[in-house]
């Protein structure tokens, strides 16, 4: 009937089960933003609990929180700043990997930028560890490169 369309038309919820066996509910409209979940729904139907083997109970609630805000159009810069404020670099990485697995584009983009911002003034050693990269330069090669690009090393807090 002709009503004021003030609330979302679909209040259907989907059940998601994490890799460590916990179950979370999410609105169908939010699930649409996670392409992996949507594909599973298309294959398995929306009445079944969707299994997410590579996402765990630590990350999923945070992701659900993000998309809850997204469907009401309330994602602002302030919200995003608050969202990552208390997360350390490793926690962000885990969240980022989960966003990638779920094919949740908006969160993925936001976290890419956040990680880039976090790495901005970190040492080369830190970044290597973060990306899981093994250093195969000889000390001479490395110091020559560093000298050539000295301008890009200004302002870095070298640790260790």
């Amino acid at each position: 009937m002709a009503q004021e369309a003030s609330s979302s038309t679909s209040s259907k919820t989907i059940s998601l089960k994490t890799g460590d066996g916990e179950i979370f509910e999410i609105e169908a409209s939010a699930a649409k933003q996670m392409k992996t979940v949507q594909r599973l729904i298309d294959d398995l139907g929306d009445d079944i609990t969707i299994p997410l083997h590579n996402v765990f109970s630590k990350e999923l609630p945070k992701i659900i929180e993000y998309y809850k805000k997204d469907i009401t159009g309330e994602i602002t810069k302030d919200f995003e700043a608050e969202f990552v404020k208390d997360l350390n670099d490793d926690e962000v990485k885990v969240l980022f990997l989960a966003a990638n697995y779920l094919d949740a584009n908006k969160l993925f983009e936001f976290l890419s930028q956040n990680i880039a911002d976090r790495l901005e003034s970190k040492s080369v050693e830190y970044v290597r560890k973060y990306f899981g990269v093994e250093n195969d330069f000889t000390p001479e090669e490395e110091s020559k490169l560093r000298e050539e690009r000295a301008w890009s090393f200004r302002g870095i807090k070298e640790d260790e």
């Binding site: 990638n100 990680i115 880039a116 080369v124 970044v127 990306f131 490169l145 690009r149 301008w151 302002g155």
Partner: protein, 416 residues
């Protein structure tokens, strides 16, 4: 507190790392060349090069020193970079002397660059080198504090979709030629310009138009796709100075050329310009797509009020309205009769406005009449927010709350 799966955490898949890489500043990206031999040239194919204040931390270094450092960095990066450059942005406070920028621009036109952004923060207008005008790969061009003098052989930018010019100097014919020879242009921003003051906008694909500056005249031709328009006329003119240029009604001519307009902002003195000539009650065709309207209005000028009402009357699908009162230094000589609201209210169509914002009113009669009118004729109004002028008295609130509302749900808030 470490997690249970350290191995998953420690190594990110390649394509994901590339994605993060594309968000790094140029400084950080170059640094990744030291991570490992595989990473040595990864950064060099990044498509976007942005040189701004992040590149050089301005400490108390000598100005010449900063300039030469910035110059060397850009040379270094451009030389090592390989592959296409999609975006180049140069925006630094202490921008170097002219010759370096000319040289880099020439290099970029050979890459060929798609987005070119140049911001000269201070000093004289920088003269854009001729080579930029033959860069046909450009999709987006953004210039701040520049002087454009296209060569006589300039045939336009065939692929340009977006143009943003602020604080620029450009001759009248050069301006017209530029606009009309970019057939794919969709977005045009022009702020604070000199060298031309007749704006004849001929642009078949234009969708977004944002302008603020001093001009005598503006006209549109073949602009049926324009959906978002914001115009600020920063110069006041005497009412006896005609801005009609052979037209009988600026308002009618203006709206006829914008049949698909969805969002319209009329700023500074532009409403005064539109009110010149005849202000009709009904327009030849209504603005059926207009859903957002923002007007800067002088409530002491009854012609401006007429123009505003004409817009309201002929926009059946307007949802959001913003009214910004423009206080005049001296009141208009009282030849202005009290505005005849009875005539207006006869056969006034139902308005579907849901949100209204009113800024800067002080409580003079024409303002109150207008607000009263809005409240009475907006049966689906949800919110009206009123922000008073600094010199508004406390009676204003009382007056506003007195008015009858057609919409039982209307929430009127007073922000002070």
């Amino acid at each position: 507190m470490t997690d249970a799966e350290p191995d998953i955490i420690s190594s990110l898949p390649g394509h994901i790392i590339d994605h993060i890489l594309s968000h790094l500043s140029i400084k950080e990206a170059v640094r990744t060349s030291v991570l490992s031999t595989k990473w040595r040239y990864k950064w060099a194919t990044l498509p976007n090069l942005v040189f701004d204040s992040q590149c050089i931390s301005e400490t108390s270094e000598d100005l010449l020193d900063i300039k030469s450092k910035l110059s060397r960095i850009i040379d270094h990066v451009l030389l090592l970079h390989s592959g296409p450059i999609r975006k180049f942005k140069l925006s630094h406070r202490e921008l170097i002397g002219v010759t370096d920028i000319d040289r880099w621009t020439l290099h970029l036109t050979r890459r060929p660059v798609k987005e070119f952004v140049l911001e000269i923060w201070k000093g004289q207008r920088y003269k854009i080198p001729t080579c930029l005008f033959s860069c046909q790969g450009l999709h987006h061009l953004e210039l701040f504090n520049c002087w454009l003098k296209p060569p006589s052989t300039f045939q336009g930018f065939r692929n340009l979709k977006s143009l943003d010019l602020q604080h620029v100097t450009l001759a009248q014919d050069a301006f017209e030629n530029l606009i009309s020879s970019c057939p794919l242009l969709e977005r045009l921003t022009l702020m604070n310009f000199d060298g031309f003051n007749h704006l004849n906008i001929r642009s078949p694909n234009l969708q977004f138009f944002d302008i603020g500056g001093k001009f005598d005249d503006i006209s549109f031709e073949n602009t049926s796709q324009l959906a978002v328009v914001s115009i600020g006329l920063y110069v006041n003119f005497e009412s006896n100075q005609s801005r009609l240029h052979g037209r009988s009604s600026n308002l009618v001519e203006f709206l006829i050329r914008l049949p698909r307009i969805q969002r319209l902002e009329i700023q500074s003195y532009f409403l005064k310009y539109l009110a010149m000539g005849v202000v009709p009650v009904k327009l030849p065709t209504p603005c059926i797509d207009l859903s957002y309207l923002s007007i800067r209005i002088n409530f002491n000028d009854s012609k401006e009020i007429s123009a505003a009402l004409c817009l309201l009357r002929n926009s059946p699908n307007l949802r959001e309205l913003e009214i910004l009162a423009r206080p005049e230094e001296q009141p208009v000589p009282i030849a202005h009769h009290a505005y005849c609201w009875e005539e207006v209210c006869l056969s006034w169509p139902v308005m579907r406005v849901q949100h209204v914002r009113i800024d800067g009113i002080s409580g003079i009669k024409p303002e109150l009449d207008f607000v009263n009118f809005l409240l009475q004729y907006s049966p689906v109004l949800e919110k009206m927010a009123v922000k008073p002028a600094l010199n508004a008295g406390p009676e204003l609130v009382k007056d506003l709350l007195r008015f009858r509302r057609a919409s039982a749900r209307a929430e009127v808030t007073y922000l002070d």
